[in-house]
Amino acid sequence: MLNCKDASRLQSHSYERPLSAREWIGLKLHLLICKGCRGFAQQLKLIRQACRRIDESKGVGADAPGLSPDAKTHILKELASKQGEKT
């Protein structure tokens, strides 16, 4: 019988590769009887959904610090000199 540690590994692996029949059955049986691992399954799903949405969400934290003024000045200078080359 699988324990929770093995079951959590299999759950994670199932996102990366097809499980063997034996692994799959073992995991399903474990999930039937284990509430903690069902909770973990839910968390894995939520983590994946959150990652998929990160770009569109305020996820890229609008309140997080942005570019420093120094960096901006430097980048502007580089852009201007490159633009100068082009024209």
Binding site: E16, G66, I75, K82
Partner: protein, 196 residues
């Protein structure tokens, strides 16, 4: 419909999208200097490629696409530099250490994850995102790199292994370690509640 490309104005790109691009890069690279470099390289590349920008997507989406390529290039080149992939970085041992903290001697959860009534509701909660971003930032550099490529960029495990020059078994181990760590971190930093 995206608005047609207005004009080639890199200074405006920097003003309007610079902070966004920087945060995006910082999230992946977790290195402020490298993130600044990435923004600069992205805007310089955008300047050269402006004629090819079709206006099919927004300028921000276009710039973000360029940034993603730049970041992947950086990961590729870093994978070849020893200081970013230390030989003593043993993913299996690192996973074992976390498992020891989360599971008892018989392999059962010490503190079992709770099942929530409506997990997706979290995605609309600012609180959740704050905790989630904090937890992502807490990932070790290798974990963060593999996890981002897999979950945010959607690369296959196979491709990531090749790019970063690690075995597929280690790649799975790293991903599992990252997920286990994230769920544990969320448990500590986010209290589930739907009554908001």
């Amino acid at each position: 419909m995206a608005s047609p490309p207005s004009s080639c104005d890199p200074a405006a790109w920097l003003t309007e999208h610079g902070d966004y691009l920087y945060r995006y890069a910082l999230l992946k690279l977790r290195d402020e200097a490298a993130a600044e470099d990435m923004v600069q390289e992205t805007l310089l590349a955008a300047l050269s490629a402006w004629e090819r920008f079709s206006g099919q997507s927004s300028v921000r989406t276009w710039l973000t696409g360029i940034l993603k390529h730049k970041i992947l290039d950086l990961f590729r080149s870093r994978a070849k530099e020893p200081q970013y992939t230390p030989a003593n970085d043993d993913p299996v041992a690192e996973l074992a250490a976390l498992e020891q903290a989360l599971f008892d001697a018989t392999g059962h959860w010490i503190s079992p994850p709770q099942a929530w009534a409506d997990p997706e509701a979290c995605l609309d909660q600012q609180r959740f995102w704050e905790a989630f971003m904090r937890c992502l930032e807490g990932l070790a550099p290798l974990h963060a790199r593999v996890f981002h490529l897999r979950e945010m960029e959607g690369y296959g495990t196979e491709e990531i292994c090749n790019e970063l020059d690690i075995s597929s078994t280690n790649c799975w181990v790293v991903l599992h370690r990252a997920r286990l760590g994230l769920q544990d971190c969320l448990k500590t930093n986010f209290e589930y509640s739907v009554n908001e």
